[in-house]
């Protein structure tokens, strides 16, 4: 009996991997097309933005009093925003353009979300790695103090993005309000997400409020990994992982609910 269940599970995994692979190719084709620079936009867009922000901050001479170089600060901050923002944006209203593909039994709501999440997470990760290597090699950034902590922080942010993506993606199928409100939230969260400050620089009262924002913990940890003991980072892994776990469980259950409601064209 155990063997049988196991075989069924393995087979299901194979099918799901096949479906997600097919959806990935489909997303890459419609998203980046076969013309222009295609897939390279995944990291060209954040590269331009990071360069812009770094340039702006250099002109304004921000960050100098904190003994931190601007390029690395902008890169670690914006890459984190890019990760959760793009992952969630792509899950938002993801089902409608794929409804006709759901005629195929094995193409499920969760597969559509996962394919888009994989693509966005891969894009944001490539962008962070490529840009870091580039800036380090030309001497605009120093090498990170503790790569392992950075990887851990990045994985925590990935976990957060997957959970939030599943939640927003599922509820956006129920009401148009979600789409409109989500965009407003994204803009408001950008300055609050820890990308443009470090908690330690802020007054005590503000620190306490901002530490309720989950992604702040991820960004603080990422910077702790990059700058090492040059900065004082404030983050609570227990809090961040609890939020992530709740988001993931709620997201999975909402995706299951959406599967029951979905009616292929």
């Amino acid at each position: 009996m155990v063997g049988f269940v196991n075989a069924g599970f393995k087979r299901s995994l194979t099918i799901q991997a096949r479906v997600i692979g097919a959806l990935l190719m489909r997303e890459i084709l419609t998203r980046f097309g076969r013309h222009n620079i295609g897939f390279m936009w995944v990291f060209v867009e954040p590269m331009l933005f990071t360069l812009g922000v770094a340039g702006l901050w250099t002109l304004l001479r921000l960050g100098h009093e904190h003994h931190i170089d601007i390029v690395s600060f902008a890169l670690t901050g914006y890459s984190s925003v890019l990760l959760w923002r793009n992952a969630v944006n792509r899950c938002n209203l993801a089902i409608a353009p794929n409804l006709s593909l759901m005629y195929h039994r094995n193409v499920r709501v969760i597969d559509i979300f996962l394919a888009r999440l994989v693509l966005e997470i891969a894009g944001a990760t490539i962008s962070l790695v490529v840009l870091s290597l580039f800036f380090i090699s030309i001497g605009w950034m120093s090498a990170p103090a503790d790569v392992l902590t950075m990887v851990f922080a990045w994985l925590m942010l990935v976990w957060f993005s997957v959970g939030l993506g599943l939640v927003i993606g599922s509820i956006s199928e129920r009401s148009e309000v979600v789409d409109r409100v989500w965009h407003t939230i994204t803009y408001l969260m950008f300055p609050l997400s820890g990308a443009v400050f470090m908690i330690d620089w802020l007054p005590r009262a503000l620190q306490e409020v901002l530490l309720w924002v989950p992604m702040v913990h991820g960004v603080e940890m990422l910077r702790h990994g990059y700058y090492g003991e040059r900065v004082t980072a404030h983050y609570n892994l227990a809090y961040f992982s609890s939020v992530n776990l709740v988001l993931l469980l709620v997201g999975l259950s909402l995706a299951r609910q959406t599967q029951l409601r979905v009616e292929p064209e």
Partner: protein, 216 residues
């Protein structure tokens, strides 16, 4: 074998829940051809979608121990911004069939020429129908679900589809839904009538046809 056990389906509408299927039971064995007759809006397409697994029943179970196609209806099943060829690749990947050997068949059968490399949204409805049918014939299934085949296509294309389905695949199981009694009589071994959300199964086709005629 496909077995449909106590399947019900309720859709949420603006006017509250609407029950489309009520406690439907049906078993299809390998190689069997079953016709399902029903008026417009009787729930034929819903039943076919539940059998294919594209939608899930509100209660009850659909069990499949053979491979089952998606509903062949000359539309649906592909994505408009992809080209015909990319849609073929997608479908081959989803069903785990090698891509390259399928291309010549789809090229020949769909007669789309260079349009196979254009986005599907640029196709005319006739071209879409040709692509849809060619794609569904590119994958080998044990059971084909056929939704109102008779409606579309010129007579020559209709003839080609007929040959592919009923001659090349005459040993396969088929479930055909239609409101056309003659079509069911020509192709099926058994038939059932769908009305008011319930399914009535008959051993002899003629009994099913009689029941269907008397409904109107």
């Amino acid at each position: 074998m496909i077995s449909i056990e106590n399947v019900s389906k309720v859709y949420g509408t603006r006017h509250g829940p609407r029950q489309v299927l009520h406690d439907v039971n049906l078993t299809i064995h390998r190689g069997e051809k079953i016709g399902i007759l029903g008026r417009n809006g009787a729930g034929k397409s819903t039943l076919i979608r539940l059998i294919s697994g594209a939608e899930l029943p509100t209660s009850g179970h659909v069990r499949r121990t053979m491979s089952v196609s998606w509903p062949l209806a000359f539309t649906g099943g592909f994505q408009g911004s992809l080209t015909g060829l990319d849609n073929l690749r997608f479908i081959c990947r989803v069903y785990g069939t090698p891509i390259e050997p399928s291309i010549p068949f789809v090229e020949a059968f769909s007669e789309l020429g260079s349009y196979l490399r254009e986005p599907v949204k640029k196709y005319s409805s006739g071209m879409r129908a040709r692509l849809a049918f060619a794609l569904s014939m590119a994958i080998d299934f044990d059971c084909y679900l056929i939704d109102e085949v008779v409606a579309v296509g010129d007579s020559r294309f209709h003839e080609k589809c007929h040959t592919q389905l009923f001659e090349e695949r005459k040993d396969k199981a088929m479930i055909i839904v239609s409101h056309n009694p003659a079509y069911i009589k020509e192709h099926c071994d058994r038939a059932a009538v769908l009305g008011n959300g319930t399914l009535q199964l008959f051993d002899r086709i003629d009994e099913a046809l009689e029941c269907y005629q008397s409904q109107s």
